[in-house]
């Protein structure tokens, strides 16, 4: 089965924030929540690099491990999703996530006319990148859109952040396919491999024989 992943090619990212804008627009994400954001290191200096970060849909997701109410699940194609009807907004996932992906709405960050969602606890129910795969509601339904955003994967499409990326720095798709695209780029650049932490995220599953390169 497919294993859907993101790769952000830091050699290409130009910090245009098109991915952030595309995500917010596609899912009508409320104010104060950024499912995706661009982080820049050494800003304005030599060696400046930017990377677009959202939920990386971890193979061994720590948010799933720490959730006290077990609201997380992983789809057959490797996307980490959660049920907002079960989430209690405790924030454990936020502490566990190395990418700071879980977001918590509050009434102060709401757009005018929108109802507050902090009725349950001060932080509200968790919201995060769904890989444009919706959530545990009927695919393409209004309920799914209101809670989780659009379900592009069920339409045979990819996450809009990656499809909108102007430099194609952000790649989304089945891990072996996007790995092949990225490796071809590295060969074309001709200055060696700049990747780290590769095998854990994009290497073959253990039962297929791990790639030890």
């Amino acid at each position: 089965m497919a294993r859907m992943k993101f790769i952000c090619d830091v050699e290409r990212c130009i910090e245009c924030n098109a991915c952030v804008t595309a995500c917010k627009n596609e899912h009508e994400v409320p104010w104060g929540i950024n499912r995706r954001r661009v982080i820049t290191v050494n800003d304005g200096q030599m060696g400046e690099k930017s990377v677009s970060v959202a939920c990386m849909h971890c193979t061994d997701a720590p948010c799933m491990a720490v959730c006290p109410v077990n609201c997380f699940y992983k789809t057959e194609d490797g996307v980490v999703l959660h049920d907002k009807d079960i989430c209690i907004g405790c924030g454990y996932c936020s502490y566990a996530c190395p990418f700071d992906a879980p977001q918590f709405p509050n009434s102060a960050g709401k757009a005018p006319g929108e109802s507050a969602t902090d009725f349950f606890v001060a932080r509200g129910k968790m919201d995060k990148c769904t890989y444009c795969a919706g959530g545990p509601e009927e695919n393409g339904s209004e309920a799914e859109f209101e809670k989780y955003g659009r379900n592009r994967l069920a339409e045979g499409k990819l996450p809009l952040c990656a499809e909108m990326c102007s430099t194609k720095a952000l790649l989304a798709g089945d891990a072996p396919v996007i790995v092949a695209i990225h490796e071809h780029r590295i060969e074309q650049r001709g200055y060696g491999d700049t990747r780290w932490g590769w095998d854990m995220a994009y290497g073959r599953a253990e039962n297929e024989g791990a790639d030890k390169t």
Partner: protein, 73 residues
């Protein structure tokens, strides 16, 4: 006075009987939420995961500019 002490003691002891367990029972690993529909469970993909996967993989190649134009030597 003694009757008051006995009544107070009994009331304090019996108050404990009204307590109930308030902690949530932790169930290891089991997803508690609703079942989700799979991506390919629609007429569009004829409920066939391979059809869905092929369409997604073809679309993934749109992110690869090298399939559109070969780089200049």
């Amino acid at each position: 006075m003694r009757a008051f002490h006995v009544t107070f003691l009994l009331a304090a002891l019996l108050a404990g009987c009204g307590e109930y367990r308030q902690s949530v029972t932790y169930e290891d690993g089991g997803y508690q939420g609703k079942k989700d529909t799979r991506m390919w469970d629609s007429e569009r993909f004829m409920h066939d995961p391979s059809v869905w996967k092929q369409m997604v993989n073809e679309r993934t190649q749109h992110q690869n500019e090298y399939v559109r134009t070969e780089p200049q030597e």
